[in-house]
C-alpha cells in the first residue's frame, strides 16, 4: 500500500495527461493534420527495450482509433487503452474531495493501491509500446458520481471485471510468448482487484468470485461496455 499523496504520473489530471501525450505521439509518429487520416499510418518505432516494430493502429481525424489485432502490438494497445481508462478512474476517485469521508481507512488503502497498480500498468504499457502506442484517451466520467461510494465501487467493479475478461479474451491474439507472459502477470492482479472491490461491496459473500470460470470477452464486447467512458471511438478489426 502507499500514501495518499502522489506525484508525477499519478498526480496529473487524466485529460491534461492525455492532451500532452497526444501531441507528443503526433510528433513522434511524424504525423500531422490530414495525414493522420491516411490508412495504414500506424505509429512505428524501434525501441531499445519493450516492443520493436510498428503497430497497425490508425488514428482518424476525429481521434477515433482503429486497432488491428492481426498485429499483436495492437493487442497491447488495446490493453493500454483499458489501463488508461482504469488509471484515470482511480486517480479521479482518490483525488475527489469526498474520498476520505465516503471510504474507511481500510477501503482507502485498497483504492489507493489499485490506483497505483493501474498507473503502473498504464505507464509500463506506454513505455513498452514506445512510439507504437496509441494516443492517450480522453476519459468521459460524467455518469459517475465520485462523491458517492456506491457509484464509485460499482464502476470499479465494472472496470475490473471488464479488464479481467478483456485480457482473458485477447490472449489468443498474442503471438509472442513474452507479451503473453506479461499479459498473464497483469490479468491476475486485475482479478485480485475485482475480488477486493466485490468484497467491499458485499463483505463475506460469494460475490468475490461469482463463477468458477471468468469470462473471456471479445474486444468488441469489451469496447462496447467501455465506450460510455471514453470520448474517442475505438474499433478492433481482425478479431
Amino acid at each position: 500500500m502507499s500514501t495518499e499523496t502522489v506525484s508525477g504520473a499519478a498526480a496529473r489530471s487524466p485529460s491534461a495527461d492525455m492532451a500532452q501525450d497526444r501531441r507528443s505521439f503526433l510528433r513522434r509518429a511524424g504525423l500531422a493534420g490530414a495525414a493522420i487520416a491516411l490508412a495504414g499510418c500506424g505509429a512505428s518505432g524501434k525501441d531499445i527495450l519493450g516492443v520493436d516494430g510498428a503497430s497497425g493502429a490508425v488514428v482518424g481525424p476525429d481521434g477515433s482509433i482503429t486497432l488491428n489485432f492481426a498485429n499483436e502490438l495492437d493487442v497491447l494497445n488495446y490493453a493500454y487503452a483499458l489501463e488508461q481508462l482504469e488509471a484515470a478512474f482511480y486517480v479521479t476517485v482518490v483525488a475527489n474531495a469526498s474520498f476520505a469521508s465516503i471510504f474507511t481507512a481500510s477501503e482507502r488503502r485498497v483504492l489507493i493501491d489499485i490506483r497505483d497498480h493501474e498507473v503502473v500498468h498504464k505507464d509500463f504499457l506506454a513505455a513498452a509500446l514506445g512510439t507504437a502506442r496509441i494516443p492517450n484517451l480522453t476519459p468521459k466520467f460524467g455518469a459517475i458520481n465520485f462523491a458517492d461510494r456506491t457509484s464509485v465501487l460499482q464502476t470499479a467493479r465494472t472496470f475490473e471485471d471488464l479488464g479481467v475478461s478483456a485480457y482473458n479474451g485477447a490472449a489468443r491474439y498474442l503471438v509472442s510468448e513474452a507479451y503473453l507472459g506479461v499479459a498473464g502477470k497483469i490479468v491476475s492482479v486485475e482479478a485480485r482487484h475485482a475480488s477486493a472491490i466485490r468484497d467491499i461491496l458485499n463483505n463475506r459473500s460469494a460475490d468475490f468470485a461469482p463463477n468458477a470460470f471468468d469470462l473471456g470477452n471479445t474486444p468488441q464486447t469489451v469496447l462496447t461496455a467501455a465506450a460510455p467512458f471514453i470520448t474517442e471511438s475505438i474499433t478492433v478489426v481482425n478479431a
Binding site: V187, V189, F213
Partner: protein, 280 residues
C-alpha cells in the same frame, strides 16, 4: 454449488456459441464422464463458451488432446485435486470455519471441485487419478508443519492462501506452453483469474479485511507472513518487465510496482512446493 450469472455479460453469446454449448451438453448427457457440477454449470450458463467448446471444436469430439496439452492439464488437475479435497475436508471439519466465513469457503470449494471435474472431463481417459494428500505437509506422516490444519482456523487460512497464490503462479507459468492451443489457453486463463480472486479473498480475510500489509489482496515484494512458504513467493518482487526496469518509467513506488505484476512459477517449482502435501 454456487452459480451466479455475471452481471449479464454472460448472456452476450452468439448463436455459434449457443450451438457449441448445446452439443457439449448433449455430449455430456450421453457420456460416462459427465459430472453433476459441470452439467449444472452448463445449465446455469456458467461455463464460458470457449471452454465448453474445446472438445467439440478445437480437437474434434472424442479426439485425443495433443501430448503437450495433456501434460499441462494433468499438472493443473493435480493442483485442483489438492485444492478441492482441502476445502472439502475444511468444510467438513466441525468447528473449523466460523459461520460468518462459510460462504467464502463453500464458494471456493464449489469452484475447485468444478475445476477438477472440468479438467477430468477434458482429459477423459488421459486424466490422472487423484493422489493421496497429507495436508500437514508431512509427506504422509501427518505430522508436518501444518499438522493442525483442520483444527486450527489460522493454519487452515494460511495453507489456503499458499495454495491459492501457488495456483495463480502455476497456471500463469503454463500460458506459454498452451499458446498454440487458443481455446485451451483461454480456458486455463479463465481458471487462472478465478484462482486470483480466491487468493485475494483469503489474503484479505486473514487480515480481517483491514487491508494492512501483508494481508492485502495482492503480493507485496516477495513477502509472506506464512512460515515455510517462501518458495510460493520467490521472485514475485521482480521489477523488470519486457526488459524495462519499471522503476525507471513510473512515479509509483517500487513496492506497488511489485504488487502490480504477479510472476509465474515453472512446473518444477510448483511441484516442489506441493510435494510435501502429496503422499503418492
Amino acid at each position: 454449488m454456487t452459480t451466479h450469472s455475471s452481471d449479464g455479460v454472460q448472456s452476450i453469446i452468439d448463436p455459434a456459441v449457443h450451438e457449441a454449448l448445446h452439443s457439449r451438453r448433449s455430449a455430456i448427457a450421453k457420456g460416462a464422464t459427465a459430472s453433476g457440477l459441470v452439467l449444472a454449470g452448463l445449465r446455469m450458463g456458467t461455463v464460458p463458451a470457449a471452454l465448453a467448446a474445446i472438445s467439440t471444436s478445437a480437437f474434434g469430439q472424442g479426439a485425443r488432446l495433443p501430448t503437450a496439452v495433456i501434460g499441462v492439464l494433468n499438472f493443473a488437475l493435480r493442483l485442483e485435486y489438492l485444492e478441492a479435497e482441502f476445502y472439502n475436508k475444511g468444510i467438513a471439519a466441525s468447528g473449523l470455519i466460523p459461520a460468518a466465513d462459510r460462504t467464502i469457503f463453500t464458494t471456493i470449494q464449489a469452484h475447485e471441485n468444478v475445476h477438477v471435474t472440468y479438467l477430468r472431463d477434458l482429459l477423459g481417459t488421459s486424466a490422472r487419478p487423484k493422489p493421496t494428500f497429507d495436508y500437514s505437509a508431512g509427506n504422509g506422516s501427518g505430522t508436518g508443519p501444518f499438522a493442525d490444519v483442520f483444527t486450527n482456523y489460522a493454519t487452515f487460512l494460511a495453507v489456503a492462501q499458499a495454495f491459492e497464490d501457488t495456483g495463480v503462479r502455476a497456471y500463469k507459468g503454463q500460458a506459454g506452453a498452451l499458446k498454440p492451443y487458443k481455446d485451451v489457453l483461454q480456458a486455463a486463463l479463465s481458471v487462472h483469474s478465478v484462482e486470483a480472486r480466491h487468493a485475494a479473498e483469503v489474503r484479505r480475510l486473514r487480515g480481517n479485511f483491514m487491508d494492512n500489509e501483508p494481508n492485502q489482496g495482492w503480493i507485496t515484494n516477495a513477502t509472506t507472513d506464512v512460515p515455510g512458504t517462501a518458495a510460493v513467493y520467490a521472485g514475485d518482487d521482480n521489477v523488470i518487465q519486457l526488459g524495462i526496469d519499471v522503476r525507471s518509467i513510473t512515479a509509483v513506488a517500487t513496492k506497488e510496482i511489485t504488487e502490480a505484476f504477479d510472476e509465474p512459477l515453472t512446473m518444477a517449482a510448483v511441484l516442489a512446493i506441493v510435494d510435501p502435501f502429496i503422499v503418492g
